[in-house]
Symmetry: C2
Subunit: 766 residues, 2 copies
């Protein structure tokens, strides 16, 4: 992060670093090799490229201009703002719903019309090529699920080119291509990213180069409102993906968002309600057959509500087994995926051609497996006891595919491989069909999807993790159900649902949101108690081995995510000691020479500078010559003021009326100008600038004796970018600010490189 | 709150106060008349008595003893702590589930066997007398729902005698009595309070006078862990009340808790899962007929899943109407209930006899109405088209009560009045019975329950608000359904469900949690989209008129709840100005004379004192004579140290080994000793005490230029009790701490009394 400072005097601990087991639980190996100091790491992998990342300013910047502007806001403007807020939340829901409908419509129509190996494989390769080409050429950031980056954004880390128009469009079409190609990936993760992109674009008034410059847009042109809207967007995305409005809200709350408040709960709920209305309307419209193959499923994706759930307390035993194995498998999956992603990163870095070839080989492998593996399965006779089913199936979506079998027989493996991923899940979840699948067929399916899900996720197409894990988990669950059949009365379809839930919890480590998503997916409330138990057990087991898959990806990409809990050893370190290990803080005077400002801006990369007044009129009862901490000024505001040339010819403070007349906060709201773009003449260098009106007079501060653990809690809870350290001593000559802390300074791994002895104590305790 | 300080120089603004409309939206009139200064208001109404209330210490108190103790914690002890945490969460769920089962069992068995007016009324009066007697004599705090007090506790306000053994027992038996008596109140609110009581008792190791003094209990004897457990308890209570595990978690999250983190989400979810398992097991056991009349309903309370929900986009019109009217009625209900509660408070304050008489008259009125009103209804012929129903009903719970009608006919009003409240709701929710109820019967029911719910809530018995509102709302919804029948195809039972949801949202202003609770109550996922819309509309409409019913009660009781959002005018006030309006802060020296400590403790009521060292060795490069802010010491710790007589004969700092040998943090953990109980001899008065080892060296601080708005965000987000104000000036002679802020200082109404001009600007803006 650009605002961090060098940690000096750090002993080289490279030897120790090498020793560390790269698979150790607490410290994952990131893809970017970091040097031993803090300042060299404002880098993270965005898309497949190493990019500079920035922190976000969620704190309200209370400077004179803001206060003035804010005081002038009339009641009308306040209402306008509130109206805007809800309109945007509406639009996020509406657009996400419309796009989700379009994606579903395209996928189901494209995927539904393909038969025959050559045609099947050729079409799949073409679709994969299309998706990969889009991703590689136009928006590398659109590859992958995007959820880790959204998580990082809501935690306060901005990744470049992540939420623009290009990723949005590539994500939509790339997702259609990749899912239609039959690759082992879902549209769920991409839909979450799509929701976030829509939100970001709406909040900033359009794509980067064609922004709408309406006056009221300025109220939304701040990181805080954008953050809230992106939270709405991600909830809307999950809702659109699973048709699960409450699950979407909870997913955003439990997994994605860092800050949360009651008002936001309500607004995200509104957005997801709109998504549901749009989805329902489109499904209703399509039910009349106007949309090709789309719309048969209704709003519930995998309805298992028709089965009666009877279980007794003894049935808890197989449920516990499902949970434990699900947790083990989930953490094993996380471990292996981590390895594969490191390998893929090496390949992807070799260039665009390599990326494309990788995607195409995965697509070819997938097509071959999907087409030929069903030949291994035996044909099963149709069960005439099952009422209301057509066997062998006639359409594209049926449960009993004939494939290579004689009439009256069906190929069970073809039923779950020769179909779209959604339909495959539906078929495995199917209830009251205890003899539909042979154990070997399910074993082949499970093995195949274990391999596919590991090797498909990292390729350069928009991909989600939900569906691959559900596919794996459902066949694992159903297999287990067949094994447990003699001892229990639970339906095999429910075993499949529980298996999918267990593997999800084992890999993603969510509880409440997964529970509600599964509830909404399967429409069976009676399942709730056992689903809860399975999820709790699987998460507990998984947590014993490694962190959740999203945390692994965040760490791998080098995104400086700030965890909720401080490490135990952080209590033994004060922020004063942390500040001492950094280079001295760069301080500006209240009225500063232009030359010094330009110099500071050019020679440092800090994004905030404390503003201090020297020799001020002392407060009552004290000798003169006091220094005063006036506040904190942001780099962006300094650059904007330089560009506007708000200079003074003599060293004096501007009067209040001058401020009101000359400056507006609209000028300050402009973003993205760098100091290199600002031209200051030699004469101007000798002038002065009054920083007082631009300074945030209410920065959050901590006393130097504060422990790092508590400082971190404050930093994360309030959502800060800079935190000033004030001295605990009070005397003439003591500087009023002794340091400045940023996100990077509070990251456990960074502190440990600067204070290796803490790591020693940490290890000893383990 | 005891730690607050006088606000001096506050002009009397009584005249202005009188002018204020007591029904004005933003400022509700509390029951306790407050004087114009801050310090005189550590009072609130607890139960029906005015009591002193205290703030809670959620902040981790990092003094030397804590750090030492904490560093010594072995890995085993950490594991022990984690195990304890989960065991307690398990026990909370388990006990709440068991108690809920017992309550249900008792209520359904008692209420099921009553017929005939005299017997009916007599039994009701006896049961009410029993419940009131318990409440009045043994635990006045057990009256009412208890949810506002839990909300306040989790916000940081401790109310005395609220979570002990007496309220728990009285709540259990009182609730059984009051609900069996047929009063218009539910067991839902009491169950939430019961869950919280169990949590609190478990966390502190038993009732006040018989605490288990196990060593590992000390880890839980802090406000922080207790708070988390009470959150679990309230979620478990809601879950037990509605058999809604996810709804319970969300209720705790949305309505009850102030602080929330992901780990807590998981733990509350675990507790509610246990509750569900216990409930299911007991229902399974009781289904075989071993529990009398209990257990017929199954886990879903008001199952409407058997009806198919068909609706088109046009059906949104009646849905919107339900929502709007629900919001209006809900806010009107809040308004009227506020008035009634003020009236009741006057009656209740007259003494115990008055309280009992009030309860009995309400019970008598209820019984008379319930018994005689059905005579107003006409008999309806049984509809032979309805398959599977017995008409007239034979048992106690049926849908078609014969009452005064000839065979083959039923009295629709008797079906919903001559039954328990739960069954009444079930009957009104009944689906596919479009002609079951006459509009006049529903109108009578609605009118009756409007009156009853207003006048029942405030009497001295354990009571909940959920069920009365559901009863009102369901008949209102069904009435509306009958009116809209010609234009829509939505089932009348669904209208009843939506009406109940709308009135709940209009009065309680919850969204997501209500939505999930209704989902879990009615087991119909297809209802979700319209329920969401109804809830959103009703809440929006209600918010236009007044705050939620819980906020009204909190305000009325004078509980200093800290809102999530600062008032707009708080940006125009700095914490320095706030501190100037208070009396100067009382500061202690690092090594202080015993006499001074005793004097300070006796003459002030503050709960925290800044500790400052004078003339310390200066930091590098500064002239000597610096003062140092060492930290904050708590009253409880000072008193404990005085009691243990940790005195020094000369003025010196204790060495670290001395601290380790002499003091333990177990001694400090003792609670509830007052300075009056400590005897200090005259000789001892001349000795010294070293406060350094007891001082929290890492208090949260703000600079005096910080705006009150931002300080409040910090205060609430981090969960503080004291916040130190440090000067922005740095010079010899400036005190290192210029003020101390507490909860009361940050309350909007308190600030406005001290700074009347802010109110002016606020009014002008409106």
């Amino acid at each position: 992060m650009a605002e961090t400072q060098n940690m000096e005097g750090t002993a080289p601990v490279a030897a120790e670093e090498e020793e560390r087991d790269p698979e150790s639980n607490s410290l994952l190996q990131p893809l970017i090799k970091r040097s031993r100091t803090l300042s060299s790491s404002p880098l993270a992998i965005v898309g497949t490229k190493v990019s500079h990342i920035e922190s976000l300013d969620y704190e309200i910047n209370e400077n004179d201009l803001f206060k003035h502007d804010w005081r002038r806001r009339s009641r009308i403007e306040v209402l306008q703002y509130i109206l805007m807020k809800w309109t945007l939340a509406f639009l996020v829901g509406f657009l996400t719903g419309v796009i989700a409908t379009l994606i579903n419509l395209s996928i189901e129509n494209i995927a539904g019309y393909m038969t025959g190996f050559i045609y099947f494989t050729g079409a799949n390769l073409a679709l994969t090529l299309f998706a990969t080409f889009l991703c590689v050429m136009f928006a590398p950031t659109a590859a992958g699920p995007g959820i880790p980056e959204i998580k990082a954004y809501l935690n306060g880390v901005d990744t470049p080119n992540m939420f623009g128009a290009a990723p949005l469009i590539v994500k939509i079409f790339g997702s259609i291509g990749a899912v239609s190609a039959g690759l082992d990936l879902g549209k769920e993760g991409p839909l979450v990213h799509i929701g976030a992109c829509i939100s970001s674009l709406l909040a900033q008034g359009g794509p980067d180069n064609h922004r709408v410059k309406w006056k009221w847009m300025r109220y939304f042109n701040n990181d805080r409102d954008r953050r809230d809207l992106i939270t709405c967007g991600s909830a809307a995305g999950v809702c659109a993906a699973f048709r699960a409005p409450v699950g979407g809200v909870l997913f955003a709350l439990e997994e994605v968002a860092t800050w949360w408040r009651s008002a936001l709960l309500w607004r995200t709920f509104f957005s997801t309600a709109i998504v549901v209305v749009v989805l329902r309307a489109s499904i209703e419209y399509c039910n009349s057959g106007k949309c090709g193959l789309f719309g048969k499923g209704g709003l519930i994706m995998f309805d298992v509500s028709d089965v009666s759930v009877y279980y007794h307390l003894l049935d808890v035993v197989p449920v516990v087994v499902i949970g434990v194995i699900g947790g083990l498998l989930g953490s094993l999956y996380n471990h292996l995926l981590h390895k594969v992603l490191i390998l893929y990163n090496l390949i992807n870095q070799k260039g665009r051609i390599c990326k494309m070839l990788l995607s195409l080989s995965v697509a070819l492998f997938t097509s071959v497996c999907l087409y030929f593996l069903p030949f291994l399965a035996k044909c099963s006779p149709c069960d005439s006891d099952l009422l209301g089913t057509i066997c062998p199936s006639t359409g594209g979506t049926g449960n009993f595919k004939q494939f290579n079998c004689p009439p009256g027989y069906y190929n069970d493996l073809a039923s779950i491989l020769h179909t779209s991923n959604d339909d495959a899940v539906r078929n495995i979840f199917s209830t009251s069909t205890p003899n539909e699948y042979h154990p070997t067929s399910l074993l082949i399916h499970f093995g195949l999807y274990c391999i596919l899900s590991l090797f498909t996720f990292g390729i350069a197409v928009p991909s989600g993790l939900f569906l691959p894990i559900i596919l794996m988990g459902s066949s694992y669950g159903r297999l287990l159900g067949i094994c447990a059949a003699p001892y229990t009365k639970i339906d095999q379809g429910l075993y499949a649902v529980l298996g999918a839930a267990a593997l999800m919890a084992g890999s993603m480590r969510m509880t409440v949101s997964l529970c509600v998503i599964f509830l909404e997916l399967t429409n069976n409330l009676l399942l709730l108690p056992i689903t809860m138990i399975v999820l709790l057990i699987a998460k507990t087991v998984g947590d014993c081995f490694n962190p959740s898959i999203y945390e692994i990806i965040l760490e791998l990409k080098g995104l400086p995510f700030l965890e909720a809990h401080p490490e135990p050893w952080m209590r033994n370190l004060t922020v004063g000691e942390l500040a001492d290990a950094k280079s001295p803080v760069v301080v500006l005077c209240g009225v500063e020479k232009v030359a010094r400002i330009v110099e500071v801006l050019r020679n440092t990369t800090h994004n905030g500078f404390p503003v201090v007044d020297q020799g001020v009129t002392p407060p009552v009862g004290c000798p003169s010559g006091a220094t005063e901490l006036h506040g904190l000024i942001l780099r962006a505001h300094l650059v904007a003021a330089l560009k506007k040339k708000w200079f003074l010819s003599e060293k004096r403070r501007t009067e209040e009326w001058e401020v009101r007349e000359k400056f507006t906060s609209v000028d300050l709201a402009e973003r993205g100008i760098t100091i290199e773009e600002v031209i200051v003449t030699k004469d101007e260098m000798e002038l002065y600038m009054d920083l007082h009106p631009l300074t945030n007079t209410t920065p959050y501060t901590v006393v130097e004796s504060m422990s790092v653990a508590k400082a971190m809690v404050l930093f994360r809870q309030v959502g800060l970018r800079h935190m000033l350290i004030v001295p605990k001593y009070q005397a003439a000559g003591v500087p009023p600010v002794v340091g400045i802390l940023t996100r990077q300074d509070l990251r456990a791994s960074n502190i440990l490189t600067a204070f290796p002895h803490l790591e020693e104590t940490e290890r000893k305790n383990k």
